[in-house]
């Protein structure tokens, strides 16, 4: 059993803090892009970890605790969206997803957010999981129950849709 997973299953409080520190930033970024707002992302992160604590014994069967947390977070985000009755394809990626230190970065961030928002919602999730969450294609495949080859194809398709953004950036 994964050592951190074993400690989580036992209810070791320090283990939950370690898990949070390991994945919080990536999780928050993924959820901000997915839900369109930092406030909603914060709500879902809290719900996610509450579920992680409630179902801690399930970690006995988990090989990769971080990927498992993303799985729970994704399900919570879907539930959150359903509760708010938001249409699945209308979520705009907020520019606040990116940390900006100067006006130039601000402009790049806004362009990136706008470009991401234009990608097909379902394909965009693969970019969110790959680039913001830092998951491998295999982990994304297990999380979404979509074959790995399909994940890679749809990810490539999403990246290709971002090319105009890059060209604008360079120009």
């Amino acid at each position: 059993m994964h050592p951190l997973a074993a400690r989580l299953a036992r209810g070791d409080e320090a283990a939950f803090a370690e898990l949070y520190d390991e994945c919080a930033d990536r999780l928050f970024a993924y959820l901000t892009a997915k839900l369109g707002s930092r406030d909603r992302a914060a709500d879902v992160v809290q719900e996610t970890f509450l579920r992680v604590a409630t179902g801690r014994r399930l970690f006995r069967n988990v090989d990769n605790p971080v990927a498992y947390v993303f799985q729970i977070a994704r399900n919570e985000a879907i539930r959150f969206t359903a509760r708010e009755r938001r249409g699945a394809n209308v979520v705009v990626v907020p520019a606040e997803l990116f940390a900006v230190e100067n006006p130039f970065n601000q402009e790049m961030a806004e362009l990136a957010a706008a470009a991401l928002s234009r990608i097909d919602r379902e394909d965009r999730e693969f970019v969110e999981l790959r680039i913001f969450a830092g998951l491998t294609f295999r982990e994304i495949s297990e999380l979404t129950a979509i074959p790995q080859a399909t994940v890679a194809t749809r990810y490539r398709r999403a990246i290709q849709q971002l090319r105009p953004w890059l060209e604008k950036q360079i120009s």
Partner: protein, 141 residues
Amino acid sequence: MEEQHDETVERHLAALPLTPAPQDLRTAVLSGVRRQLKSQRWERTLARAAVALIVVGVGLNAALLAPGSGTRKDRGDGQLKIETITQAAVVIARSSDPQTATQFARRLALLNGVRLSHDDEAGIELRINEQVSNGVPKRRG
């Protein structure tokens, strides 16, 4: 060529720094986790107390209703008692944990004058563990 374009897009996107999670979110999340774990520990304590009361209650009933049954294990009646003990332990496992359920089974057997063999105990533990893991799929990361 196409792949190079895609890699360039990926690199530029990955290079954009992401806003980190707010610090107060960490405090809020870990407080919630702490409360949840505390609540679970309390529930387990209550479950163990309930188990202890049940054991005492069943033991008293057994002593009152069957004064002549002694500690001699009759093969047919003994098997029935072991099955009853096992079923009771499985119920306890559902609301607490395998360790509590196993302890419950041993105490209940003792109070009922049932001597559990090594195989009997192994069988009870197997049924308890089956109950705990039943319906939980293997989770992979």
